[in-house]
Every structure is written in structure tokens, then in C-alpha cells.
């Protein structure tokens, strides 16, 4: 039963259904660390940390930047609700560079605690975009 190796993945963001396919393996970064998911995983709910998500089908892997959201894993399907996510070719490198500089500047200045947390989040997103963007744009 080859079908048992596959499971259904749906990635939904506020403005579109980002990805929906049956895949073999999912690699994703959560707040607790990176995890790999195969079919038949125990039910698990976890929070997404900014990172690269990989969808592996037939030994080929597709990568995308995933910034924020949470995922619900069930034995036969995975639901990822992402607040923002992008394919590498959608990343605007210039904007990411600007965002990185802006966030770095904000972290150096001493503002309130909440702002610091937000700037740090923004910096992590920008770095992720740059990392993935550089890998594919060159």
C-alpha cells in the first residue's frame, strides 16, 4: 500500500490557499525546534517559528518561507495555518534587506520591551527571506 506513505498537507494563509498536496514528508520549524513529519504521526498541535518549510514528494523537495502561524498534525493530514508565507521566487530581496536594517536599528535603540520583541521577530523574518532568497535567486 504505497498510499500509506503519503499524507495530505494544506497550507492556508489569509489571502490564498498556499499549498495543497499529498506528500511523503514535511520538515518544519516550530518554536520547540525543527520537526519532520511522516504519515501516521501522533496528533500534535504546535506553533510555527520563522523558518524554511520543506515539502518532500517523490524524493524532490520544495521549499518555502513560513513566518508565523500554527499547525495541527493528524495521522492522515496536516493543516498549517500561516499568517504569512512565500515561495522563494516571491521574495523581494530589496525589501527584505531594508527590513533587516530597520529591525537592527530598532534593536540597537532602547525602546519598550514589546517593541523589542517585535523588532526581533521582524529581524528573524528578514533574515529568513534573505537566506532563502539568496539560495534561489543566484
Amino acid at each position: 500500500m504505497a498510499d500509506n506513505n503519503l499524507f495530505h498537507v494544506q497550507v492556508v494563509s489569509p489571502d490564498r490557499v498556499f499549498f495543497e498536496e499529498d506528500i511523503e514528508m514535511l520538515e518544519i520549524k516550530t518554536t520547540e525546534g525543527e520537526i519532520g513529519v511522516l504519515a501516521g504521526h501522533i496528533p500534535l498541535t504546535s506553533i510555527i517559528a520563522p523558518g524554511v518549510v520543506r515539502f518532500i514528494v517523490n524524493g524532490e523537495s520544495k521549499e518555502a518561507a513560513l513566518h508565523d502561524g500554527f499547525l495541527e498534525i493528524l495521522p492522515d493530514r496536516v493543516m498549517i495555518l500561516a499568517e504569512s508565507c512565500e515561495w522563494p521566487d516571491e521574495i523581494d530581496m530589496n525589501r527584505a534587506r531594508e527590513a533587516k536594517n530597520r529591525a537592527e536599528r530598532r534593536l540597537k535603540g532602547s525602546e519598550g520591551e514589546i517593541n523589542e520583541a517585535r523588532a526581533e521577530m521582524a529581524l528573524r523574518k528578514a533574515l529568513l527571506r534573505l537566506e532563502l532568497g539568496e539560495k534561489y535567486h543566484n
Partner: protein, 286 residues
């Protein structure tokens, strides 16, 4: 009977008003198409978020969490989504009525206004406007929803408010829009759904701990519901305006037809009168 000139002027006025309503109808039809597309593309997220949160809560048994328990007393936050512009029939008024005709006393309500019309009306009625996000209605984005969500959640966490509601207009289709009041927090779990998911009861695991995970998921849930409400409200607004302008144009046409008839009668009457005068004048000379 009104004079011919008066009727003619009135007809011209109605004609130009009719042109305006006709044009506004076309504009809102075009805007409605765009807004409808946006609602459709945001719907999957909206409904999956709802399902996911429901199934998580159903599977996780009795988790005690501040977001899930109704606190006693305190004020209630109302996010009121209306439009910035009028001429949309009963659209704005219907949303405002959800508050004024509801059974929650006005002293207990803190209004987070989205849309100038609702804000002004509620202010006039003496409601307390806590925050105003009216500019958002020009083109709601997810980050706007997140901003509103952050504000209400902060108030909830500080125990300024014990419940959060959102009053908006559900976009059912182009001719039906339903003003709706929905409770965002504490989260309500629907009874039937709980029973359904009991069938495939598998205990949900959390990473991080359940409480911590819900701490992060519930705000996202609230944000997504707010975003969904905003996009639907934009579509409803344009739908309501389209209908209002359509009936206004029809009324204008009716009035013009009526006035045209009156004008012709007046014209005929004046000609008849002139003729009688001429005939009478001629016979007097003889």
C-alpha cells in the same frame, strides 16, 4: 397646477440626481466584484481556522484557560464594523441597531469603531468610543486586523473587558447581507461539533504545553475572525450601496415619467388657455 417652468426645473434636478445614483451604482458594482474576490480568497483561512480551533478545543478536553472562561462582570468590548461613507441604504444603521437594540446596557460597552458612520452614530447615542480604526475600511489588510486584535486582547488580558464581540455584516450574496453579532472571546464551542469530533477521539498533544500553545493560537484565531469580518463587511457595504443606488435610480426614473406627464398636461392647458384668450379677444373687437 404648478407652472411649466417649475416642473421643468424639478425634472432637470431629478435627472441629474438620477445620473449620480446611476454612476454610483456602477462604481459599487465594480468595487463589489473586487471585494467578493477578496472574501472568497480569504474564506478558506477563515473557515479552516474556525474548524481547527474547534477541533483542538474539542479534543483537548477540559483545559482551563483565561481565553476560554467567561469572566464575571466587567465591560464588554464591541468591534463595530461599518462604512466610512453613507448612501448605502440601511447598511450602517442595521449594524448600529445590533448594539442599541441589544440587551447589553450602554454603560457596559466599549466601542472599537471601524468605519466613520458607525462611530459617529454611536457617539451621538452616548456610547464610549475606545478606539477608532476607520481608515482601515479603505482597504483592510491582515496586518490591520492584527492591530485591532492586539488592542482588544490587551484590554482582555488587563481585565478591562470580560468579553469581546464583533458586530459586522455577513456577506451572503449580492442581494442578502445579514447584520451579525459574534462573540470572539471567550471562545464558544458549538455543542454539535463537540459531539461529532468525539467519534474520532484522539487525544491532542501540544508542543509547547497546551496552555502556552493556546496563548498563541487564540490571538491568531481572533485576528483571523476580525480579518474575515472586515473583508465581508467591505463586500456587504458595496452590495448594500449597489442595491440602494439601484432603487434610487428606479425611483428617479419613475418620478421623471410622472413629471413629464404633468409637464405635457400643463403645456397643453396653457396652449388651450392662450387660444381661448385669442378667440375671446378677437370676438370682443368685432
Amino acid at each position: 397646477m404648478a407652472s411649466m417652468r417649475e416642473i421643468k426645473r424639478r425634472k432637470a434636478t431629478i435627472e441629474s440626481t438620477g445620473q449620480i445614483t446611476q454612476a454610483m451604482k456602477l462604481v459599487s458594482t465594480a468595487k463589489l466584484q473586487r471585494a467578493k474576490g477578496k472574501v472568497e480568497s480569504s474564506k478558506p483561512y477563515f473557515s479552516h481556522m474556525y474548524d481547527a480551533v474547534n477541533s483542538i478545543l474539542a479534543k483537548s478536553g477540559n483545559i482551563s484557560h483565561p481565553y476560554l472562561q467567561a469572566a464575571q462582570g466587567g465591560k464588554k468590548a464591541f468591534i463595530v464594523v461599518t462604512s466610512n461613507r453613507g448612501l448605502a441604504g440601511g447598511y450602517n444603521n442595521n449594524v448600529v441597531k445590533l448594539l442599541t437594540k441589544g440587551n447589553i446596557p450602554k454603560e457596559d460597552i466599549l466601542v472599537y469603531a471601524v468605519g466613520r458612520k458607525g462611530r459617529d452614530t454611536l457617539k451621538r447615542y452616548g456610547y464610549e468610543i475606545k478606539e477608532d480604526y476607520s481608515d482601515v475600511m479603505n482597504g483592510p489588510m491582515f496586518s490591520d486586523a492584527a492591530q485591532i486584535g492586539r488592542a482588544v486582547l490587551e484590554a482582555f488580558a488587563n481585565q478591562e473587558v470580560s468579553e469581546i464581540y464583533i458586530a459586522y455584516t455577513v456577506f451572503k450574496n449580492t442581494i442578502t447581507q445579514i447584520p451579525t453579532l459574534m462573540r470572539l472571546l471567550p471562545v464558544e464551542i458549538k455543542e454539535e461539533e463537540t459531539k461529532n469530533s468525539n467519534a474520532d477521539l484522539a487525544i491532542m498533544n501540544y508542543e509547547p504545553e497546551a496552555e502556552e500553545a493556546l496563548d498563541m493560537i487564540i490571538p491568531k484565531y481572533v485576528n483571523s475572525l476580525i480579518y474575515g469580518a472586515l473583508t465581508e463587511a467591505v463586500a456587504s457595504e458595496n452590495g448594500a450601496r449597489m442595491q440602494a443606488m439601484d432603487s434610487a435610480s428606479n425611483n428617479a426614473e419613475e418620478m421623471i415619467a410622472d413629471l413629464a406627464l404633468k409637464y405635457n398636461r400643463a403645456r397643453q392647458a396653457s396652449i388651450t388657455q392662450e387660444l381661448t384668450e385669442i378667440v375671446a379677444g378677437a370676438s370682443a373687437i368685432e
